[in-house]
Symmetry: C2
Subunit: 209 residues, 2 copies
């Protein structure tokens, strides 16, 4: 819609350092894992001095928050796609759950970062829990589509929470080697995920329909 650089945060010496820092962090996260993600390492990867990031982020936490935000956006997109691709209404919920866990398994370091900031503040970022096509709202809306009564707000929030907890729990557990035999017995990791979800009412029920 717009020609060139005109409304961006104004490239100065570097160009767009905050963008470059987030990208560098993501790169390090994939190649070295979360424990290697120091502010200094990110600055090094981006080719600037260790203090440069402080002109764009208040501290290390704020940089990680920016990385996390992009992670949540990616997750929201994954869930949207899963919701659309599911054929029957009954499959939609499981498809959402599987998509959630698959995302976490494919981006384990990013997934960790996404929750780390929240754990310290004991609060999820608002765009996860509140905004309209946030992950939380997508799960809730899908529950309603599946037959949950939207008038009973408490039950609906409880059910959404239950689904979220189940998916998050499985996402963290699925990486443990203890489940390898079960995965091979069932043929694939996704079969394992579906198997676990099948044992959870929240993903199998008809929700009053």
């Amino acid at each position: 819609m717009r020609e060139t650089a005109a409304a961006e945060p104004r490239p100065y010496h570097h160009g767009d350092l905050s963008r470059a820092l987030i990208d560098a962090a993501r790169r390090l996260l994939e190649s070295e894992g979360p424990s290697a993600l120091s502010l200094r390492a990110v600055a090094r990867e981006a080719g600037v001095s260790p203090a440069a990031p402080y002109h764009h982020f208040k501290d290390k936490g704020e940089l990680l928050e920016a990385v996390a935000t992009e992670g949540w956006d990616m997750l929201n997109d994954s869930l949207s796609a899963a919701r659309k691709s599911a054929h029957s209404v009954k499959d939609k919920l499981t498809a959402l759950g599987v998509a959630y866990v698959v995302f976490a398994r494919q981006n384990p370091s990013l997934y960790r970062i996404m929750y780390d900031g929240s754990r310290n503040k004991e609060e999820l970022p608002s765009h996860v829990h509140m905004e309209d096509d946030s992950a939380y709202c997508q799960v809730r809306d899908t529950l309603v589509e599946a037959g949950a009564d939207p008038a009973d707000e408490i039950a609906l929030e409880l059910a959404t929470t239950a689904a979220w907890c189940a998916a998050h729990g499985l996402a963290e557990m699925a990486s443990f080697k203890q489940f390898d035999t079960l995965k091979t017995a069932l043929g694939s990791e996704e079969a394992f995920l579906r198997g676990v979800f099948e044992h959870m009412k929240i993903f199998a029920d008809d929700h009053g329909k």
Copy 2:
């Protein structure tokens, strides 16, 4: 069964430093949280030099593992007690789930440490998953008591995994402020936990009985 000190690791200059270090770590964990748990701080708290711990633990990780092991033992005890205190068979599973989450909520820093080491190794400690009165086995046995078919090993392991994931997911989520309104609406945090569990088949079903 034995009189005094005879089979212990032998107290030397300090007395029993590894014990003292683990206690110091637990103390710091409760008073300052996981982020303050540096090796140096633990040594300081125990009144020894920063290098002293290295004669008892290979590195910081091994000390944290020792702390985690005690945490798992405490959790196992909590679950045993919950299992015994539940009156009906039907209540036992929910009682287990609630006890799990309550433990995590009452010892949040310790709970974090318990999983941190495993996340790096992608493997749970064996005494959690294998030994007879481990948390995992207690959940599995309770499922059998509740009517699950012990002959269908795959289904039983899937169900146990589902219950574990649900409880772990809820344990991590329950600290977020987002659920405060729901908790007050339901009257107490435990009511909130039970409400969430009620939406999970694994905790409500009759398991084929």
